[in-house]
Every structure is written in structure tokens, then in C-alpha cells.
């Protein structure tokens, strides 16, 4: 089966610009996750969707970050405006459903550099 797809793989922007990342989960997976991985750290969960509803967005900086999963399939994560500290790899993952335990399958990530 096809894995989690993400685009773009790399993005370089200047601070205060906007950027959007796209994720297409594994077919049939109801739960989708966005993680932020800053260099030298482990991934940190930003937001979790169950179908098209938000399950957890407690660590999402809502003043500048937004995410949607309108039809319960693919998802978009947006940053507006970007700051230097947003430079990171943004990983998308999906699982069959939420909860303990459902294996999360990760995409290749998008590396964002904010200058």
C-alpha cells in the first residue's frame, strides 16, 4: 500500500511570509497527526484529527498556525506569518484510528527553513 505522502519536501521562506504544507495519509486511516521536529529534538505533536474533527490541538500555536482536514482525507498545515523559530521538519503521520494502541505511519516530512 502507498505510504503517507507529504509535499513539498523542502521550503525556504523569509520571516513574516506564509507557507502551507500538504499531507495525504494512508488510504482508510481515520486519524492524522502533524508533528514539528526542531533540529536536535524529537517530534512534538501539533495537532491530531479524527476524520475531519480536531481531537487535540493543545500544542498548536494558534496565533500563527492553522490546520484543516476538510473531507477527512488529506490535510493542510499553514503558518502565517512565519518566525525564525518555526524552522523545523514538519512530519505528518496517520493511523487506522485514535487511541492506545494504533501504530502511526509517518511521511517523509517537509523541511522548512525560515530566513
Amino acid at each position: 500500500e502507498a505510504g503517507v505522502a507529504q509535499s513539498p519536501r523542502y521550503k525556504i521562506i523569509e520571516k513574516r511570509q506564509s507557507v502551507a504544507f500538504w499531507c495525504n495519509p494512508i488510504s482508510g486511516h481515520a486519524t492524522l497527526y502533524w508533528y514539528q521536529q526542531i533540529l536536535g529534538q524529537g517530534p512534538k505533536l501539533l495537532i491530531q484529527f479524527q476524520n475531519n474533527g480536531v481531537v487535540d490541538d493543545s500544542q498548536l500555536p494558534k496565533d500563527r498556525f492553522s490546520a484543516e482536514r476538510l473531507k477527512g482525507v488529506d490535510s493542510t498545515l499553514k503558518i502565517q506569518p512565519a518566525k525564525l523559530e518555526d524552522s523545523a521538519v514538519y512530519l505528518c503521520a496517520s493511523s487506522w484510528r485514535q487511541g492506545t494502541y494504533n501504530e502511526q505511519f509517518f511521511g517523509p516530512g517537509t523541511r522548512l527553513t525560515v530566513l
Partner: protein, 112 residues
């Protein structure tokens, strides 16, 4: 909240030798899962091995095995017969409900 600590930023091992990566965690829950993920330079997180907290038997997957000490909240990964392809970042993670927490990672170098 769960916390996961990996105290070894870097480790190295000679090809064909054995290496152990350390991980400690802190959770107040009794039902949780623990994972080791591998992240090569391609950035794709790959699940290496998982352990259910209620199982006393240590998980094993081919050359990878864990030493799960629930009382000590310790979850180390042993890689036997190390191969060049094992070189990567390794992340320990704790999963309970909707909460998945990762450690900071250990960079493993395999020397030929």
C-alpha cells in the same frame, strides 16, 4: 503528562557488534505503549519495535530487542550484529491514549 528521556545524544558501534540505547520515561498511567523509532537521513520515521506495558515479556524483532523494566520506567533497545544500515537517529516514544511523546533521540554511528 508523559516525559521521555534519552541520555545518550550519540553512540557508536563496530559493525557486527552489539549496542544498547537507553531510555527512561515517566507516566502515571498503567496502560501505555513504548516504541523505538529509527529516523535515517531521509527523515522517514520507521517503527523498530514496540512494547505493551502490561506485557512482562520483552519484545524482540530479529536483531532488535528491548529490556523493559516497568518499575524502574526504563526501556532500552539492544541492537545485535549491528549493520551499516542501522546508522540513524533512534527515538524512544511513549504512547497513552492520544498522547505520544518522543525523547530527544540518540544518533547511532556504525563503524565498518
Amino acid at each position: 503528562a508523559q516525559t521521555v528521556t534519552q541520555s545518550q545524544p550519540e553512540m557508536s558501534v563496530q559493525e557486527a557488534e552489539t549496542v544498547t540505547l537507553s531510555c527512561t520515561y515517566d507516566t502515571s498511567e498503567s496502560d501505555y505503549y513504548l516504541f523505538w523509532y529509527k529516523q535515517p537521513p531521509s527523515r522517514q520515521m520507521i517503527l523498530v519495535i514496540r512494547q505493551e506495558a502490561y506485557k512482562q515479556q520483552n519484545a524482540t524483532e530479529n536483531r532488535f530487542s528491548v529490556n523493559f523494566q516497568k518499575a524502574a520506567k526504563s526501556f532500552s533497545l539492544k541492537i545485535s550484529d549491528s549493520q551499516l544500515g542501522d546508522a540513524a537517529m533512534y527515538f524512544c516514544a511513549s504512547h497513552r491514549g492520544n498522547d505520544m511523546r518522543f525523547g530527544a533521540g540518540t544518533r547511532l554511528t556504525v563503524k565498518p
